[in-house]
Amino acid sequence: MITVRGLRMSYGHYEAVRGIDLDVARGEILAFLGPNGAGKTTTVEILEGFRKRTSGEVLVLGTDPAHAGPDWRARVGVVLQESAPEAWLTVRECLSMYAGYYLRPLPVGRALELVGLTDKADARCDRLSGGQLRRLDMALALIGDPELIFLDEPTTGFDPAARHTAWEVIAGLRDLGKTIFLTTHYMDEAEALADQIMIIAAGRIVSSGTPATIGGRASAATTVSFTLPDGVTAGDLPGLLASATAGRGGTVEIIHDQPVPVLHELTTWALQHGYPLSDISAHRPTLEEIYLGLTDELTSPKGRD
């Protein structure tokens, strides 16, 4: 559906995108993550055909978006980040107006149903809540029955309940076979929805993979942490546990790529001495930790989102 090779984009002397490759297959949800100023919006706008590029190959639905016409537009749905209602029209009228732009639109009732706005069909657009407006945006992007949908930060500013509703809508689109290019700031959103995650920082892809494997997450070391019992020092710990270092909040941490022997040795030792170790925990890095680790030092202070 999408093939990008060596994409570059410069604004004057500033290079916002510095050679990006990416592939999105049909029916896949790609989550595109990155801090503000990383070149995320520039990349998406090039793929949407709203912005020209400096160099590189871009094919979206087999066509270069820079030269795409109405037939291509009819196959691509776009949910923009900034959006406001079509003032003075109702939800249904707004969808009917957009439906008129396409040769084979979805029935308005079907689009309303997909985003869960059926009971707001006759409400004026400017009287909707923030979450309802974003759902209307989504319905407007779906009304042409597109194959590929760009979603630019679809849940920014949502409360947790509204976010989960939006995720259900997006997951429902995947079930319909739509391909989705999702831009987001939220790691949990990427984890919940994406088949593939790409992280962009300072104009380059710094990591890509599935939610389970990205950033070497599958093979990353496990951290075992606990609070030392009274009167015990780190030096008293036997065997594998001797590598313990000071962790957060008075705990000690043992970082090891094989958690089972560490836990076995630790719990055996604790049982022998009757220590409860009530705050014991073992965890692998979260997607958020991976993301912050990857983007921290690369994030450029200037530039555009």
């Binding site: 709203f50 537009r73 406001a84 009228e93 107006m97 008129g100 732009y101």
Partner: protein
């Protein structure tokens, strides 16, 4: 889906939005009517000299306020709506669909033309029924054609200014600031025989006074040397429309402007 049915489709929703927009209704329809009634009742003498002949005060003000109303419906209302739609991302979202941009422009132009014709008809009706302005079929037909041309030209100017105006907040003040002096020197508020010649010379090459002169001639040809169709003034209006279109094509942007 033919091009014409697409334009009709777009215009239907644009007109519906216009009909529900209180600001637009008051601004484009109520203000000109109110102004006409106030100005006509202010001048007790009952007559004024214009174009070298003496005419009834209402016969003077109906075409002049009509010209102002066409600027209001064609230029000002469209400009404010347009900039607001651009800044809210609504225009960009429409550009993400297969609809050709000229269909969107044609929809706006239709709204401008329909609302202009509507308000001009109302003003003429008031002039004719309330103040005894002479109205013939020929005058009405010509005035209608001139109104359509004028509204379309001001619509082009709205797109041109839309490219120059940065945001919705500055659109209102900017357009008021630029139209108010033009109205004054064009004899919209003060009869033109009260104005110095050099000011009228300036006004004659701007689009507002030619619009008023042409409409006045349609009803009272004597004010234009006996010619019912004021060709030169309409040419000036048309030229402004073309200039506006050329500027718009170069500068108009569909996406919101960011700092």
């Amino acid at each position: 889906m033919t091009a014409l049915s697409l334009v009709t489709h777009q215009a239907r929703y644009d007109l519906r939005a216009f009909r529900r927009n209180t600001r637009a209704r008051i601004f484009t329809l109520a203000v000109p009517v109110l102004l006409l009634l106030i100005l006509v009742s202010l001048f007790h003498s009952g007559t004024v000299k214009s174009g070298g002949v003496t005419v009834k005060i209402a016969v003077y003000y109906v075409p002049h306020i009509a010209a102002m109303a066409i600027v209001g419906a064609g230029l000002i209302n469209l400009l404010i709506t347009l900039v607001a739609k651009r800044e809210s991302g609504s225009l960009k979202r429409r550009r993400a669909t297969p609809v050709p941009s000229w269909v969107l422009i044609a929809g706006d132009a239709t709204t401008s033309v329909v609302s202009s014709v509507l308000i001009v008809v109302v003003l003429i009706a008031i002039g004719s029924l309330g103040f005894g302005m002479p109205v013939t079929g020929a005058a009405l037909g010509l005035a209608a054609v001139e109104t359509v041309i004028g509204a379309a030209a001001f619509c082009c100017l709205a797109y041109a200014l839309g490219g120059l105006v940065a945001n919705a907040e500055s659109a209102g003040p900017m357009v008021q600031l630029s139209t108010l002096p033009v109205y004054f020197i064009s004899g919209i508020y003060v009869p033109d025989n009260e104005l110095p010649h050099w000011l009228l010379d300036v006004a004659n090459v701007l689009p507002v006074r030619p619009m008023a002169v042409a409409l006045q001639a349609a009803f009272v040809p004597a004010t234009n040397g006996g010619q019912r169709f004021a060709a030169l003034p309409m040419l000036v209006v048309l030229a402004w429309g073309v200039v506006g279109l050329l500027i718009a094509v170069r500068t108009f942007s569909w996406a919101p402007r960011r700092a």
